[in-house]
Amino acid sequence: MFDSIIDPTIGAASGADRGPAALADRPETLSGLRLGLLANTKHNAEQFLDEVGRLLAEQHGVTAVVARKKPDITNTAPEPILDDLRGGCDIVVVGVGDCGSCSASAVADGIILEQSGIPAVVVCTEAFTASADAMAGLRGAPGYRYLTVPHPMANLTPDGVRDRARAAVPGIVGMLTRAAMAPVS
């Protein structure tokens, strides 16, 4: 009816039309796999991931751990960091999305790794599912599943962070191993 009206959401042809994102195949078990940990700069993120890494090694037999921290909470991890993870890891845990921009960019990191064939599990606090879901849609993976943990994370004591990590491990293992990560469309 109003064909002459210009759609203000249409800009330059860019990465916006990526098409559907293919997710990585899941292994049967984590035993012997090389684990990557991709942290952002949020408070307690590295401590959380370190504890997850320790528990995955102890309980599930993951081997060499590559830990990287990206410099910027808004953007996806820079290529050199992604290359380190692609080259040195079979599975990656990404976190912790506990703010407006970092939850979305953590999901983007996870989907980028998935597209490289690396199963990834993204950890976000439950307060930011809308932002995480919106990013999954933008990245061609609507319904991409990530692990939610209670909010907030930043004010936890070291013991609290370890407890949070311990509680998250079963979900992380489930998402890295089962074939249920496909978008729920």
Partner: protein, 363 residues
């Protein structure tokens, strides 16, 4: 009353009804910030593009993590929707560029802090376009101020697709997120224009932008002492609530002309005011610790500095000060820059197209 007319509904012939239908259509497309928008049409966009020498497809902003880029034509469409007139468009483009100079703008539009751009305009363009600088500068009431600021918000929303409660995650936001655009009252300022601080020559139309989290007034009409007024400013600037922890807090001032002229009368330069405020906007470290803002990895708790008071602001230079409003009461506004990088210190000259007549666009 009669019953409804028989037969199929005809399109409304009344132009006002048609306009209303167009506004509703734009709401249905989810293109608005909650207020009605002006529909953008091809001829409308062409009129805007005629005010700039930049090409319609030139990219003027990118969010690589979202896979979205903004073109000049797209900015024009959103400026139309915001209610701008074509001749505002060069100012919108300069404002957009100024906003993007700010390091804090990178994650700002998705941030829980929900910051607003404070857009400040200097130069003769204020009078030519009717950009208010003389009273009630934080609005509302002036088309240029209201729509230039709103255009930036619609570009973010529609261009990047950052919508509230989706990618935009502001916890509470703030009053006037996309409505703060003011002219500096150069005529009543004792100092050089703010855009000159930002590196643009005097008399040149220019736009500066600072992302802010809120504003708070300081009403001080009872003294003729610069130090007394500064003491009042320093108290508000040193407020703990604005301090996020880590690094320093942030603060700047939009001085009302009466306060600015008081400083001018007593020979205080802008730098003098900044230095005084930096030195006096301090707090006891114990206050911050008591409020839970002095963790062990925090500069508040630096053992080497124990016994000194904590400077709340990062440096004298990082206290931006401009002058706006009416000379009818001695009040000023403290604003709170977002993030740890208060202001880039760079203003952006407004680029007017050579092809257009001086009479219409000036410069």
């Amino acid at each position: 009353m009669t019953g409804p007319p028989a037969g199929p509904a005809e399109p409304a012939a009344d132009p006002a009804e048609q306009a209303r239908a167009v506004i509703e259509y734009c709401y249905e497309q989810d293109w608005t910030d909650g207020l009605p928008v002006v529909p953008a049409t091809r001829s409308g966009v062409e009129a805007f593009l005629a005010t700039t020498e930049r090409g319609p497809d030139e990219i003027i902003g990118s969010a690589p993590h979202l896979g979205r880029s903004i073109t000049v034509a797209q900015a024009a469409a959103n400026a139309i929707m915001a209610g701008c007139r074509p001749e505002y468009f060069p100012v919108v483009l300069a404002a957009w560029e100024a906003v993007n100079l700010e390091r804090s703008a990178r994650g700002a539009w998705q941030s829980t802090s929900g910051p607003a751009p404070l857009i400040a305009v200097n130069g003769p363009v204020r009078s030519r376009l009717g950009i208010n600088y003389r009273g009630g500068v934080f609005g509302p009431g002036f088309r240029a101020n209201a729509t230039i600021a709103r255009a930036i918000g619609l570009i973010v929303r529609n261009g990047y697709g950052i919508r509230p409660q989706e990618l935009e995650q502001a916890t509470q936001g703030l009053p006037g997120r996309w409505s703060v655009c003011l002219g500096e009252n150069e005529e009543l300022s004792p100092w050089e224009p703010f855009s000159v601080v930002g590196g643009v020559a005097p008399g040149v139309d220019a736009v500066s932008a600072i992302l802010i989290r809120t504003c708070e007034y300081v009403d001080n009409r009872g003294t003729d002492s610069p130090e007394a007024v500064l003491t009042d400013f320093a108290d508000t600037l040193a407020r703990m609530g604005a301090y996020v922890g880590g690094g320093h807090s942030s603060g700047g001032l939009v001085l009302g002309p009466e306060h600015a002229q008081l400083f001018g009368r007593y020979g205080w330069s802008r730098a003098d005011v900044q230095q005084w405020l930096f030195e006096h906007a301090v707090r006891d470290r114990a206050d911050l610790v008591a409020a839970g803002k002095g963790g062990e990895d925090n500069p508040v708790s630096d053992p080497a500095r124990a016994g000194t008071r904590f400077p709340m602001l990062p440096s004298a230079r990082d206290i931006p000060i401009l002058v706006a409003g009416a000379a009818n009461a001695a009040m000023s506004m403290v604003f709170r820059p977002f993030g740890w990088a208060p202001w880039s210190g760079r203003s952006v000259p407004v680029a007017w197209p050579r092809a257009l007549s001086q009479a219409r666009y000036g410069n």
